[in-house]
Symmetry: C2
Subunit: 342 residues, 2 copies
């Protein structure tokens, strides 16, 4: 653990000069610069970020606040963010709230809010130049103060705060496209297994779905919508409800708002001796690993997680560099993955 002081002694210069070289200041002669750089390499000296951050104003680091690392979406989101940050020569420091384990996935809990607020303070003390908040799932995030001294970007969720840009998936268009696809395959008797009625995803997707049907002059009011609680069992139950409703005709396609519920629909169909993709078309959402292992492989919408991460970081750098951004709410398009379930 060699310090600037020792390094300076070794190089025969002052610590100020070392610092200037390390920070790319232009006021150092090429000669001493090279000499110092060489000795730095020899000694393996690494500056102590702790110390420099305490003093510096620009730290070239972004703070990451992570709702929960174990959310299936989080690692890829973070990876996309790191991609851009590293390219920009920025470091990253991350804090994991562990909302699943510690707060039962309830951001409205007081302990969660307190933790979040204390973590924001920490990050500011760290002199981060910006904060990216990474939600475990799409929701309205409400507890980030608007008057923070650094820019904030929310990834994978939404916020009403006008000063906080958000980067999300484009639920509306994803559902719109899905409906179009189904129609193009001659499916007209449609049903939807949603996540939860209160979910933002559900609302946006239903809008997109409805608009596509409208354009094709199909009566949207006839499509059955049953929420499936985002899990396999819920998908099973919803599928059961849809198929055993004797008041309306059996649908020829079911759009499930995630792959897990689609798998639940598969379960029910198989149980009834029906074959997904043959007797009834099924479409999923997320393109989780599971989807291509289902039988038949599930046609689904891929969420561009890494891309969302990248975009969030890009918006952050625009803000940091004071570029004009009219990007309050960026929507990243999903990618349709056609497999065998339609």
């Amino acid at each position: 653990m060699i310090t600037v002081k020792e390094l300076a002694a070794r190089c025969g210069v002052s610590i100020a000069t070392i610092s200037n070289i390390l920070n790319g200041k232009s006021n150092v002669s090429e000669e001493t610069k090279q000499r110092v750089l060489k000795i730095i390499k020899e000694t393996g000296y690494t500056p102590n970020y702790m110390a420099s951050r305490l003093r510096a104003t620009k730290t070239k680091t972004i703070g990451l606040i992570i709702d929960d690392l174990t959310a299936f979406s989080t690692p890829s989101l973070v990876d996309g963010i790191l991609d851009i940050c590293e390219n920009a020569g920025y470091k990253t420091v991350s804090e994991n709230l562990r909302i699943y384990t510690k707060y039962e996935n309830q951001p409205e809990k007081n302990e969660y809010k307190e933790n979040l607020s204390s973590i924001i303070s920490q990050l500011l003390a760290y002199k981060v130049e910006g904060i990216i908040f990474i939600a475990a799932n799409s929701r309205e995030v409400t507890d980030i103060p608007e008057n923070l001294p650094v820019p904030v970007v929310v990834a994978y969720a939404y916020t009403k705060a006008a000063s906080i840009p958000t980067v999300e998936i484009d639920d509306y268009n994803a559902a719109y496209e899905t409906a179009k696809y189904l129609l193009s395959k001659g499916k007209t008797k449609l049903a939807v297994i949603g996540g939860a009625e209160t979910s933002i995803h559900d609302k946006k997707r239903i809008e997109g779905f409805e608009d596509a049907l409208d354009e094709a002059d199909i009566d949207f009011s006839k499509v059955k919508y049953i929420p499936g609680n985002w899990d396999r069992q819920g998908g099973y139950n919803a599928c059961k409800k849809i198929l055993s409703d004797s008041n309306s005709e059996t649908p020829d396609a079911i759009f499930c708002f995630n792959d897990l519920m689609a798998a639940g629909a598969y379960d029910y169909l198989y149980e009834k001796g029906k074959i997904p993709g043959k007797d009834i078309a099924i479409i999923g959402f997320d393109n989780r690993e599971v989807s291509e292992y289902l039988n038949p492989p599930l046609t689904t919408m891929e969420i561009p997680l890494k891309e969302i991460g990248r975009k969030a970081a890009e918006v952050m750098f625009k803000k940091i560099n004071n570029q004009k951004t009219d990007c309050k709410a960026i929507k990243v398009p999903c990618t349709f993955i056609e497999r065998k379930s339609v």
Copy 2:
């Protein structure tokens, strides 16, 4: 961003007293302690870790070095570690090497080694009390110096360094149990789809498998072993090889060293009009999400990722507290998950 100085002024005490209170020193009168604590709460003061870590010797923080956050195993490992750390009142600071994206998963690359070494320096500058290294997959890790001033623990991989404890899955026993299970189900013509011949996993598992067969007086030399490169396509290919080998009889069970390869074996069986679990028993490994969505649901071995994380952190705290540990290489047992594929 109120500081000790302002806080001290507000409380009418010195900054030293504030510090003593915050660090639980016993040399402060109960009265002033309560008064200060109250004002801390009112003002929402949070100490600046940056500054305190620069000065303090005991920082109550553990450094985490993560091979790659996007490895399927990493989030749960980290979650287990955090569990124990938070219980112990320790914070955590993590660095993501991104070995997949940046070094093509090749730890032998020089850039990887340099990055690792610089990150270790950073963590030491951070005054972490210990470092936990979290591998993306099981391998021998070679580039952690033995003479670090703080204890190091390696999770999910192995190292020869005598001073570095490792926490891994118990491959030997997992395979031993699997073989026993297969035998108990009357399966005697066995085959194995391994990962890679050079893999530590393969070696240990084959040992366990062999010992179980020996005990049952079954000739191990007759079991076909084909490496499947850990992925679905490889599993498919390996299964094909096994079933089209005309020199030996068709096996009645195939043990695949991960779930993905088991899925590949499923693929091949279906292609040949055979039904996994009925015509040929298949067993997987990992208990990835995929396994319970396969048709039929895959019998497999669950890797106790969170538990490995917990154990690694526990060993770390033993080391930090100078407790005797004879735990050079801890093996955490896997959990057998019986489903429908045997």
